[in-house]
Structure formats: structure tokens, C-alpha cells
Amino acid sequence: MKNKLFKSFALALGALTLTISCTDVVNELPENKAFTETTDYSISDNMILPLIGAYANFSNMGWELNPLLAVRGDDVNKGGLGDQKDLKDIDDFSNYNKDFWMLNSAWQGLYSDIYKMQVAIDEVYNYMEAGASASKAEQYVAEIKTLKAFFLLQLGRAWGDILIPTTSSPSDLLVAELTPRDEVFAYLQSLLDEAIPNLPEGRPNQRTDIKGGVTKATALALKAKVSLELNDYQAVADATSQIIANGGFSLVEDFSEAFKLDGKLSDEMLLEMQHSDYNQGSGDRSYHLFAFYGPQKWTPAVSGAGGGWGFWEPSKEYIKFMLDRGEEERLVASVLFTPRGMSELEADGYSLPSYVSNTTPYGDTFQDYPRAMYASGKHYMPSSYLIPGRTSYGSNKNFPVLRYAEVLLMHAEALTNGANGSGMTADQAVNAVRSRAGMAPLSGVTSSDVMEEKLAELAMEWGDRFYDSVRTGNTSHLNQNGANYDDSKRYFPYPQAQVDLLPALQN
């Protein structure tokens, strides 16, 4: 009996010790998480990783962003009639619905990218403090700041007074104040001024570490664009003059190709969202949802190529404007016609030249579809350009963000508004753009010539037409196709979902 008890107690004791000796296990860290604090910042070669991450987020910008920002211009109408009525209401300025999902989605998309940029800057500095090259770190940070400036520019143009993040924690905005519109753009000028000295020279496609990455010219172009918003024409001219004077940029010979494969990382591009099929017919790819812009019904030259949603329709006014000017190259490259769209023009008294056709020079033919009469050629890639095996509309196409043509036209706009610049005269700048498009040169260009040239050249790109119109106060042409603009419709309302969260937006 005694023996038994002894044995049992030994067993019990043994079992208890077994568990007690394991007390340390509750201090184990979770598995399968790369904790930032465990990052080895002393590996200086890895400093480029957060920068690539920043470019990745830039290229991944949501598909709904550009449509919302750009829909209000007279160059383009919201297609897809009957669907997304709120976007149509924005297009014709009849009603801005605070609850519209696209407003909130665009706002969140822009801000979350800004915060990703903020955190990426912190990360680069962590590498620098651990011994990585300070000059390289400052260059990387300057690149990320340029991208951040791009996002803030979009917010400022669309909403006017906005919140400017200064830390990397969104919760800090709960106590932040709104920055008035003009201060936003002044802030962006200084942000870009900080960045510019640290950026590499040359064109983005000349960079060997990150081809297509930001260079000094990118930041200067962005600064010019920011300065336009302040009517600071001298700052515009200073920036564009530098880009022109340093040389290197040139326009892609064929206007149409600038938006297709030839344009990818070409000498014309200062900034683009890079996408790729990685030269393979299936598997990994990075792409933008160009289907939003695509035609609903077509007969692609390569059968099986996918179409689009028919949501984005170049306006009839824009087409007429181009026809009146005798534009061929830029019209054919910017607009895809359906038979119905062509007969609409004929009904309006236009006898269409032979180059206006529902078959593109690349052999894709568009049929009638109810949602729209025209589609955007700038967001189109011919089916014959697709790598065999790929069928998504616009797969492998980059999304141009800043082109040299725009730099030239901003230069001309600044000069015709009294600024002093170097490198080119306003005539030279405008004619450089015109000659690529096969248009006769002008002399003695006026600022209204420049604005027309901008419409012809930059239609449907990033809402430039709308913002150019409202900042110059020249808004009467916005009232086309049932639209009725007044200045109360210049800025979007803050999305209700954000008003609910942020005290600064509640008054």
C-alpha cells in the first residue's frame, strides 16, 4: 500500500513538473509574421525595397479613381447610361451625392496611398540610420515624396480644402485641421522643392536601378502642374524651362503609339503606372482595369480578346472640335467610333472624313452598343498587341500619368500668361506638340490657343480639361450635353463615411 502511494505521488509530481517547466512557452512570438522591428536594417542593399513597394502602390491605384476625377470635363461623358446614376449626376453637375460609393472609395484610395508613402519614407530612413548611404536614402525619400505629391494634388484639385497627413498614423487626423486649398498647393510646391535637389537627372527610362522611376524632371513637371493651380505662372515656367533645357525628352513619333506599347517607358514619359504581362501568355501579371473604358461590343482582330464596360465616352463636342480643327491623328487615336456614333455626327451635319471609321487602323471593329456611342482610344490597346493567351482588355498596357507633351503645353501656357522662360518659346512648344500630331505650325500663339491645344492633346487624361477650365474661370464650355456648371460644383462634398469619422470635416 505504501509502495503504491509513493508511486502514485511520484507520477503526479512528475506530471505537474512537466507542465510547470513549460511556463516560458507563453512568451513565444507568433509565427509567420515579419515584424518590422526584426527587419535587419543594416543590409543597406535592401533600402530599395520600401521604394519599390511605393512604386507598386502607385501602379496599383484603383480603377475608379481616374474616372471620378476626370468625368466632369466637357471632353468626356459618363457612358453606361442608366447605370451609376450618381456618376452621371456628377458629370452634369446636377447633384453631388455625399453617399456615393465612388467618392468614398477615391478618397480612401488616395489617402491610403499617401500613408503607404509616409511609412515607406520612415522605412528608408531606418536603413539610413543603420548605415546605408545617406545620399541614396535622400534620393529614395525624394522619389516617394514626389509620388505623395501626386496623390495630394488629386485630393486638392477634387476636394479643395483637405487634410494633409504629416505623420504615418491615420489616427492623428482625428485632431487635424483642414488646410485651405491654396495652402495645400503651396505646401506641395515646397514639398517638391525639398525633393527636387535629391532626385536623379535624366529621363525615367534612363534609370538603371528602377527604370521608369521618378527623376528630377518628374518632380519639376508635377511642380508645374501644382503651380498652375495657384496661377503661379512664373513657377510653372521655371520648372518647365528646366525640363526643356536639360533636354533628353522627346515625343513618341506616332501619337497613337504613345498610349500603347511604343509609349511604354518611352522618351516622352515623365511618370506612368507600370503594368506588364511579363512577356508570357499566362501566369503572373500586373494590370489596370481598362475594361471600364472599353467598348461593350466589338469584333477584335484577334478573336477572343475581351471587351469592356462602355462607361467612358468621349463627348460629341470634343469630336466635333477635333473635326473642325481637321485633326486626324489625334482624333483617330483618342476616339473609337461605333456606327451609331458616326451617324449621330452625320445627323448633326458633319460629312465624315474617311479616317473616321468604326474599324481602327489595327483592325479591331466596334459595333453599336447601348451604353455609349464612342470609347476612349487612349485607354485602348489593339487586340493584335496582346500576347497570345492574354485576353483582358488593355492587358500589358501602361497608364501614362505625366507626358512631355503636357510639359510643353504647360510651358506655353505660362509664357502666354506673362511668365519668363527659357529653352523654348510658346510657339515652339505648341508647334512641337502639333507637328507630332501632323498639324500645321502656328505663330503668335495666345493663351486660348494653348488651352485648345491642351484639349486636343490631353483629352480624357486625369481631368486636366475640367481643372484647367475651373482654375482659369473659363467654364461656359462645360455646359454641354445637359450639364449645368456653377462654382458651387467645383469641389466634391466630403464623403459621408469620412464626415462620420473625422471631426475636421463635420463643420
Partner: protein
């Protein structure tokens, strides 16, 4: 004295031996009139005993005048004086249950000693429900337990014990299942026929012994075991039946749809109609609508078979008991695609008294499942697909392959819409294996007083998922180019070692039990997944990533987790004169999951059996116990806290090269223990000769440090934070009336109801927290319910131009007749964010259930019902309209839309549906989710043929009838957001039970 007693006994034995004769008899159960094996028979005052055999027969040496004592678990013991040499004995089922033993954490307790709120459901009730899911059988059976079923085969229902204390994301409100002592998050591997009993530990005092994992309630499950001294019993149990969808949602038909489109004023949509008439012809009945009228729901569903077969073998000697079983279940889904579930499981349990101080045992369950999961998207497509699209388009000129399924893009619509391609060209196979085993040794250190039990548990399993997508081409933009195959492997291994020391003793009127123990827990898992594109897909044998032309590197994933837990626990249970009870437990839990490593969870409870007091004794109330308890519980099912910024890899295209970068997330969840504090008072009573029993409980359950996802400003998304205190309180009432009217007829009627009030008490100073999707806002407000739907209140519909003109709000917003009218809550003359109000909660105000059993001779009938009331459902299927307008809509909306003054004061006009004003989150989208359901009807007949096994035949209708007003398939929506739920079918089965 002792010797005298011994002497007398021997003397009496001697006499007995002299006069003893062989007495034989037959024992039946009052319950079903069936023979009762394994009943213990003892001659009073002697050690002579016997057991009834399988046919209920026994023989025993006794004399006329001796008293025989008959006893068996679950029956009332009875004494019978021998009058002749044959006896017919009817054992009465134990209706008081007070002597029964229930399983509590790390031990057992007598029902009469319980001071907590525990509800137990036995195997008979569980087996009435034809389902692969054990918990499904508890729906409506237990007050305060909400079971939200899932219609897809093999999918577990959502279980809520006494409401929710934290936001139900990622399964963090699921209860803890303890199967024979082992912890589980789900019990898919069990089969209803394996179960002996299911106990729901509802209050803190019963659950607190499980500490950190107990906050969502604990469900204790005991699998079947053999009984000592029982002859081998072989039981076959099986059923075969069919499942039929109920309450199929009526969609607008072609005519109603056409009317909607024509009234929408949308030219493109009208053109699509014309296209359909061109392609498919005009209806001969009404030439203005296309000659196609597809009822998509009807087309994608089928009657589905279900069958189950199980064999159980059990028995025992005086040293060992055993129980073994096997089960096969096959269930098809009602979605007409490869959608089915099969489960094969085996189990064995052996307990062995090795010697007078050592008992050992082992329990083992192994399960193999194969599930072909449905394409849930098909349900949504069937809702949105237009009725003017046929399933097949034989005239497709676009070169459709492999089948001629029609594409709505051909008519001009944005998407292809047809749900059939998703159903036909997808194959989602998930195979799972799970083995659960435990081994124990129990040492009696001081006989009948002190024992030590050590148990090792291991649950090991793997899951293999294979998701195949086959290519097709139906029209431009409705195609799948790449054949793809995604595979994932995961394994998990959970181990627990429990050591428990229990001391029990009685000193005069003081009876007490002391228990201390420790547990070590180790949970780990790994997973690996990859994808392959374009493999030879004609033969399933080649569905391997190795055969694929491309293996995208971005689709490779590898994951794993390891979590440790360490616990110390103890229990004190004390009773004085069997009238006054005290019960207390304490548990200390350590977990590697949080920054804060240790949590402590105490509980106390008291009981008073009033009916034992002399002053109370009366003829009406036979038994009355009052109970009160308080305790704290932890919830560790909320996601593990990262506690720090994390960095992950992101790929992008740089110069047409896949390039890796990193992105750092510094919005991380930093969490402490979520602690539930609960107070429960209740009573247990028996009245009118124990015919009526009433159990009542009132509880207040506060979740402190409740974990809720908090929306991040400007950037979207959310992080988890301990944000405040949430209270659930309610009353639960269960009552049963049972009566044995005659030898041949008995009946039982029971009913239960549980109320629930969910209230946010504190949000650490904030007035509210927003949640849900931006377009369908949910808001948690102090004083309101957690994540209540939040939006504008619909006042009606503007009927006339005059009404518009008279209302400045309507004028300001350019409204037209047929637009919704919202209540201007603050009367400031504008409708804005300030006018939004609480539109109701997804949690029901009360749930109820009931049961009637009738037994007449060999015939039995049982009917059960359940329901809930007061919960709201967000009709997100309708809400989808705010993004996509070119779709179909349900018939209720189509028929009752506004289409002229006086036609509707609830729904907007067809064109109004497309305007943002009417798409605001309002109670146009939020509907009442109350329902009543006839849960189960079973008719049984028992045959007792000679020389043939006892046979019982049953006809069962499970969930044959559900009544509700909600415009959806199914009012059972766990989160309250009805996007696409798998409909819940009614099940009709024929069952056979054979006892050998």
C-alpha cells in the same frame, strides 16, 4: 457489534439459500415499451444480483417474500416484493433526473448539486435531426442558445450562447466545444450517432473552469460509452431521404422585368430588351416581352438526396466497458452542380479497471470527409440574372464552347450573368481527415476519496483543397481563358495534457469536493498553397500543378502558427445537509497570443433547495432550488494581436520585370484579454408530482474590453481594439409537462424561450463607433445594440408633383414622384447625415422553441418548433443595385414598386431605384427577420417480432415549414447581412433502427 451483524447476515443468507428458488422475469421500459437490457437486480439485504439480458429477461435466486431492487441509469429504481416465480417489470424513466450525473468541467456532478445554468440534450433528441452537424439538432431546444443553420452540405451552423459580446468576425464568437475533455473550435468530425449527450454550459459559474476560452459559452459533448455488466448490443441506425428547397424567393418574371425596364427610362436597358426580342422572339401571350422567361432559382436547384448509416456496438463486463461504432453519411447539395458531402467516421472507447486502484482508458475517433463545395456565387447570379436570358443559346454565333450557355453580354448587358458556367466549370474539392485520441490513467490514492487523473489528448488532422476552374468561351467578355487549379494543404496538431487531483469526502452533514489541476496546451498548424495554369484538364488524373504550363509565383503561399497555453485551475464544491450549496472555481490562463500573458478567471455560486426546508413542504411544489452565480470568463478567439508593425512583400512591374518590394503596415491590433463578467440567478423546480418542471434564469453578461474592429479614418479598413463594455442580458425560461396517462399512453410537452438585450454600455468615452461598409453603415452607439444598422428612416414615397412642390426637401433635391421620402429627424428642413437613426439590430429580441412527444403503444409522434423575433436583416442582394443596375430584382419589389400615385408607399419607382437619393442606407434595405418554423416532425413505429431484431421505423420531416416576411430565401442570416446565403432545405427521411 460488527461480528454480530456479520453473524446475522450469514444466518439470513443461510435461510435464503434453503428456501431460494429461481425467479425469472421480463423488464420493459415505460418510455417505449421495449425490452430493457442491463438492468441491475439485487435481492435486498444480500449481495446476490443479476442483470437483465439483451431481451430484457432475467433469472435470479430468490424466495417469495424477498424484495428485489431494480435499478438502471435513466430509470427510477424500484423495489418489488416477490409473490410468484415470474415477474413482469416496467421501469419508469427518471423524470426528476435529480439523481443523474452531469458532466462538468474536469469532473462530474449530481444534478441536485448544480448551482449553474446547464442544459443537456440527450442522444435520442439529437438523432431525430437528419444532418451531418451535431449542433443543428439543438436548434430551438435550449433557451438562450441561438443556432443559425447553414444550408450547404457539411457547413457548420453559427452558434451563439447568450448573445454576442464582441463583434463576430473570423469566428471569434463561436463557443468552445469540449469533446470528452478535448478542446475544439468546431466539431465537424463528429457524427450525431456518436453522441451520448450535449450539455450547454450557459452561465459563467459553469463555464469559468474553462477560463480564457469560455466567454462564448461552452458546449460539453460526451461520446457514447459502454455500460458495465451489459451484454453486447449491436444497433444499426440509418435513414434515407431527400432535401427540397423551401420558400424559394420569387424573382421578377419576364413580364414584370420588362415593365420595370420600360419604366426605368434607361435607353440602354430598353435596347437590351429589344435585342432579346430580336434574338429569342416575342412572347405569343404578350408580344411586347421577349419569349424567354427563365426562373433562375428554379433552374439552378435540384432535389438532393441524403443518407446515413451507422452501426454501434457496446457492452461491458464488471471490469471493462467498450463502445465502438462506424458511420457513413452522404449528402448532396440542392445546388445543381457537383456539390456534395460524404463523411465516414469510426470511433472506439474502452475503459478498464486495471486493478483496485488504477483505471485506464482510451478513446479514439477518426473521420474522413470529402466535400464538393458549392459555387456560392451562383446564388447571387441567379438573383441578378435577367429573366429574359435563356440558359442555353443554341443560335450562339460567337463560337461558344464547351456548351452553348447564353451570355447576357450578347444582349448588351455589362456582364454574362448566367450562373451555369460557374456551376459547370468549377470543381471545389476539399478532403479532410481528423483523428482525435485520448488516453488516461486514473489512480485512486485514497479509496473513494482522493484520486489523480492524468490525460493526454491529441487531435490531428489535415485538409486538402483542390479548386479547379475550367476554361470556357460564351461571348466576348464572358469567358475563362486559362484552366487553373489551386491547391492548398494544411495540417494541424493540437495537444493537451491535463492533470487533475480530486478529493471528496463527507463529514456528517458536510459534503465537499476539492479539485486542483493543470493543463498544458500546444496548438500548431501549417499550410501550403500554390496555383497552376493551363494543364491538360480533360482527365481529372492530370489535375496537378506539375502538369501546368505556368505556375504564377504570386499565388504561392505558406503559413503556419504555433500557440501555447498553460493553465492552473481548481474547484470547490460544498453542500450542507444537501440543502445549501456553494460552488467556486478559479482558473489562471497563460497564452502566447497576447502582449498581456496571464489572465485570471474566478467564479462563485450558491444554491438553496427550498423544498427541503420543513416550512416549505407542500403537495404542489415537489422540488424548488434557487441559484445565484457570478463569474468571469475570457475570450481568446479574437484574432491574435500582432502588437507591432509588420512588413510584407509586394510585387510590381518595373520595366516588364516582376520586381519585389516591401510594404510596411503600421496600423496594427494591440489587444488585451477580453473579459466577460456574468451574473446569473435562477430557479429549478418540479411541480404536480414531478409532472411539471420549470427552469428559469436571468442573466447579465458584460463583456469588458470588448474587441471590435475600429475603422481607420481616411484610409479605410479597420483594426481591432479593446473598445468598451457590451452588455447582454435576458431571461430564459424552460418548462416541461410530462404525463404517463396509462400503461399505453404517455406524452410530454415542453417549451422554452430566451430573451436577449444587447446594449453597449461604454465605448471608452466615445459616443459611437462606425462599422460595416461605407454604403451600408452600421454603428455601435452607447446605449444601443452592437453594430446596429444605421441610416435614414423611410417615411413613405412622394406620390404627386403637388406633394413634391409642397416639400422644400423634395424641391431642394430635385426629387420626383416615386422617390422615397425620409424622416427629417431634427426638423431642420434638410435631409443630411444628422437625420440618420438606429434601424435595428441583427440580434433577435427573443428566440423560442418547443417540443411535443406522444407515445401510444408502439406508435410515437414528436413535433418540435422554433422561432425568433425582432432581428433585422440588411437585404444586401437588393443593395447590390447601387453598383449594378442592369440586373433583375425580386418580384415583391417589381410588383409593389411605385408606378403612379397611390400605388406604393414603401418602394420607389423603377427609375427611382437607379437614383442615389433612394439608394441611401435606409430601412428600405433593412427588413424584419422574425420567423417561425416547424422544426421537426417524426412519426415512429416499433415492431417486436419474434426471432427478429427489434425494429423501429421512423418518418421524419425536418424543417418542413418556415414562415417569415423577409424578402429573401431564408431568414437565418448569421451576420444580418444577406448577400448570398445557401438556402436551407426541408429534409424528408425514412429511417430504420435495428437492435440485435
Amino acid at each position: 457489534m460488527k461480528t454480530n451483524y456479520l453473524f446475522i447476515t450469514m444466518f439470513l443468507l443461510g435461510i435464503a439459500t434453503v428456501f431460494a428458488q429461481s425467479i425469472s422475469g421480463h423488464i420493459i421500459s415505460s418510455d417505449d415499451g421495449l425490452s430493457l437490457p442491463g438492468v441491475s437486480i439485487v435481492v435486498e439485504g444480500t449481495e446476490r444480483g443479476a442483470f437483465s439480458d439483451f431481451d430484457g429477461n432475467f433469472t435470479i435466486e430468490a424466495s417469495v417474500g424477498d424484495t428485489l431492487i431494480f435499478s438502471s441509469i435513466g430509470f427510477e429504481s424500484q423495489s418489488i416484493v416477490v409473490e410468484s416465480d415470474t415477474l413482469e417489470v416496467t421501469m419508469k424513466t427518471n423524470t426528476t433526473n435529480l439523481s443523474e450525473v452531469v458532466v462538468v468541467g474536469y469532473g462530474t456532478m449530481k444534478v441536485k448539486d448544480l448551482t449553474s445554468s446547464i442544459s443537456t440534450v440527450g442522444s435520442e433528441e439529437i438523432q431525430k435531426t437528419p444532418s451531418s452537424q451535431v449542433m443543428q439538432a439543438l436548434q430551438g431546444k435550449v433557451a438562450g442558445l441561438q443556432v443559425v443553420s447553414s444550408g450547404a452540405p457539411g457547413e457548420a451552423p453559427t452558434i451563439r450562447v447568450r448573445g454576442v459580446g464582441s463583434y463576430p468576425v473570423g469566428g471569434n464568437s463561436t463557443p468552445l466545444y469540449v469533446v470528452d475533455g478535448m478542446f475544439f473550435n468546431n466539431i465537424d468530425f463528429l457524427n450525431p450517432s456518436d453522441i451520448d449527450s450535449v450539455s450547454v454550459l450557459k452561465d459563467a459559474s459553469s463555464a469559468a473552469i474553462y477560463g480564457v476560452r469560455a466567454a462564448n459559452g461552452v458546449i460539453l459533448i460526451e461520446t457514447k460509452s459502454g455500460k458495465a455488466n451489459q451484454e453486447t448490443q449491436v444497433v444499426y441506425d440509418g435513414y434515407y431521404g431527400t432535401q427540397l428547397a423551401q420558400n424559394v424567393l420569387k424573382m421578377a418574371n419576364a413580364e414584370q422585368f420588362t415593365t420595370m425596364v420600360l419604366e426605368s427610362g434607361s435607353t440602354p436597358d430598353i435596347e437590351y430588351l429589344l435585342n432579346a426580342m430580336q434574338l429569342f422572339g416575342r412572347s405569343r401571350v404578350n408580344p411586347n416581352i421577349p419569349d424567354v422567361n427563365t426562373n433562375w432559382y428554379k433552374e439552378i436547384m435540384r432535389p438532393a438526396a441524403i443518407q446515413n448509416h451507422s452501426i454501434n456496438i457496446s457492452g461491458g463486463s464488471n471490469k471493462a466497458t467498450y463502445s465502438m461504432g462506424g458511420n457513413y453519411l452522404a449528402q448532396e447539395g440542392i445546388l445543381d452542380m457537383k456539390n456534395e458531402y460524404t463523411k465516414i467516421n469510426f470511433r472506439a472507447r474502452v475503459d478498464f479497471q486495471a486493478n483496485d486502484w488504477l483505471k485506464v482508458g482510451a478513446n479514439f475517433i477518426t473521420t474522413n470527409t470529402e466535400k464538393f463545395a458549392p459555387e456560392y456565387g451562383a446564388w447571387k447570379s441567379a438573383y441578378t440574372a435577367v429573366p429574359i436570358l435563356p440558359i442555353y443559346n443554341e443560335d450562339n454565333t460567337e463560337g461558344a464552347w464547351p456548351d452553348n450557355f447564353a451570355s447576357a453580354r450578347t444582349l448588351g448587358y455589362r456582364g454574362g450573368q448566367n450562373p451555369f458556367p460557374a456551376m459547370r466549370y468549377s470543381d471545389n474539392r476539399i478532403q479532410g481527415k481528423q483523428t482525435v485520441s485520448n488516453l488516461y490513467a486514473q489512480v485512486e490514492l485514497i479509496p473513494n476519496k482522493l484520486d489523480f487523473k492524468t490525460t493526454y489528448y491529441h487531435s490531428y488532422g489535415d485538409n486538402y483543397g483542390r479548386y479547379t476552374r475550367l476554361p470556357f468561351y460564351l461571348s466576348n467578355g464572358f469567358q475563362r481563358v486559362d484552366a487553373s487549379i489551386s491547391k492548398s494543404f494544411s495540417t494541424f496538431s493540437n495537444q493537451i495534457i491535463d492533470n487533475v487531483l480530486t478529493y471528496q469526502d463527507q463529514v456528517k452533514d458536510h459534503r465537499y469536493t476539492l479539485m486542483v489541476g493543470s493543463a498544458y496546451r500546444n496548438e500548431r498548424g501549417q499550410s501550403l498553397g500554390a496555383q497552376g495554369l493551363n494543364f491538360p484538364y480533360d482527365d481529372e488524373k492530370s489535375w496537378y500543378i506539375d502538369q501546368a504550363a505556368t505556375v504564377p509565383s504570386e499565388a504561392v503561399g505558406d503559413g503556419g502558427y504555433v500557440q501555447y497555453g498553460l493553465s492552473y485551475f481548481s474547484r470547490v464544491q460544498y453542500s450542507y445537509k444537501d440543502k445549501y450549496m456553494f460552488y467556486g472555481t478559479m482558473r489562471a490562463d497563460g497564452s502566447s497570443k497576447y502582449q498581456e500573458k496571464w489572465g485570471y478567471f474566478p467564479t462563485l455560486s450558491l444554491g438553496w433547495i427550498v423544498s427541503e426546508e420543513d416550512f416549505f413542504k407542500n403537495d404542489i411544489v415537489n422540488y424548488l432550488k434557487l441559484r445565484a452565480s457570478w463569474g468571469q470568463l475570457g475570450n481568446d478567439k479574437v484574432a491574435a494581436s500582432d502588437g507591432a508593425a509588420t512588413t510584407s512583400v509586394i510585387n510590381t512591374a518595373i520595366d516588364d520585370t516582376l520586381t519585389a518590394g516591401t510594404v510596411t503596415t503600421n496600423n496594427f491590433s494591440s489587444l488585451g484579454w477580453e473579459v466577460v463578467e456574468e451574473t446569473n440567478i435562477g430557479l429549478t423546480s418540479k411541480l404536480f408530482d414531478n409532472k411539471l418542471s420549470i427552469d428559469a434564469d436571468y442573466f447579465i453578461r458584460d463583456t469588458n474590453n470588448a474587441v471590435i474592429p475600429v475603422l481607420l479614418p481616411v484610409v479605410g479598413g479597420s483594426i481591432l481594439r479593446n473598445v468598451g463594455t457590451i452588455r447582454n442580458s435576458g431571461v430564459e425560461l424552460s418548462t416541461t409537462w410530462s404525463n404517463q396517462v396509462s400503461d399505453r399512453f404517455s406524452y410530454e410537452i415542453s417549451a422554452n424561450i430566451g430573451t436577449l438585450k444587447n446594449e453597449v454600455l461604454d465605448l471608452y468615452g466615445q459616443d459611437y463607433l462606425n462599422g460595416g461598409q461605407a454604403e451600408f453603415r452600421q454603428r455601435t452607439t452607447v446605449g444601443g445594440s452592437i453594430l446596429a444598422f444605421y441610416g435614414w428612416e423611410r417615411a413613405g414615397v412622394y406620390q404627386t408633383e403637388a406633394e413634391i412642390a409642397a416639400d422644400p426637401i423634395a424641391v431642394a433635391n430635385n426629387l420626383v414622384p416615386g422617390d422615397l421620402k425620409f424622416v427629417d429627424q431634427n426638423n431642420d428642413g434638410v435631409i443630411d447625415g444628422e437625420d440618420r437613426v438606429d434601424l435595428g439590430s441583427y440580434l433577435p429580441d427573443f428566440t423560442y422553441g418547443g417540443n411535443m412527444n406522444f407515445q401510444y403503444d408502439q406508435l410515437s409522434l414528436s413535433i418540435s418548433w422554433m422561432g425568433q423575433s425582432g432581428n433585422k436583416i440588411l437585404n444586401r442582394k437588393r443593395g447590390e443595385y447601387i453598383w449594378t443596375n442592369d440586373t433583375n430584382i425580386d418580384a415583391d419589389l417589381a410588383v409593389n414598386r411605385w408606378h403612379g400615385a397611390g400605388t406604393s408607399n414603401t418602394y420607389p419607382s423603377s427609375s427611382g431605384l437607379r437614383r442615389g437619393w433612394n439608394q441611401k442606407m435606409s430601412n428600405f434595405f433593412v427588413e424584419d427577420g422574425s420567423f417561425f418554423r416547424v422544426q421537426n416532425v417524426q412519426l415512429g413505429y416499433t415492431l417486436k417480432p419474434n426471432n427478429f431484431p427489434q425494429t423501429r421505423l421512423t418518418l421524419t420531416a425536418d424543417r418542413p415549414l418556415t414562415m417569415f416576411n423577409y424578402n429573401g430565401f431564408n431568414p437565418e442570416v448569421a451576420s444580418g447581412i444577406d448577400n448570398q446565403t445557401y438556402p436551407i432545405p426541408a429534409v424528408f427521411t425514412l429511417g430504420v433502427n435495428l437492435k440485435f
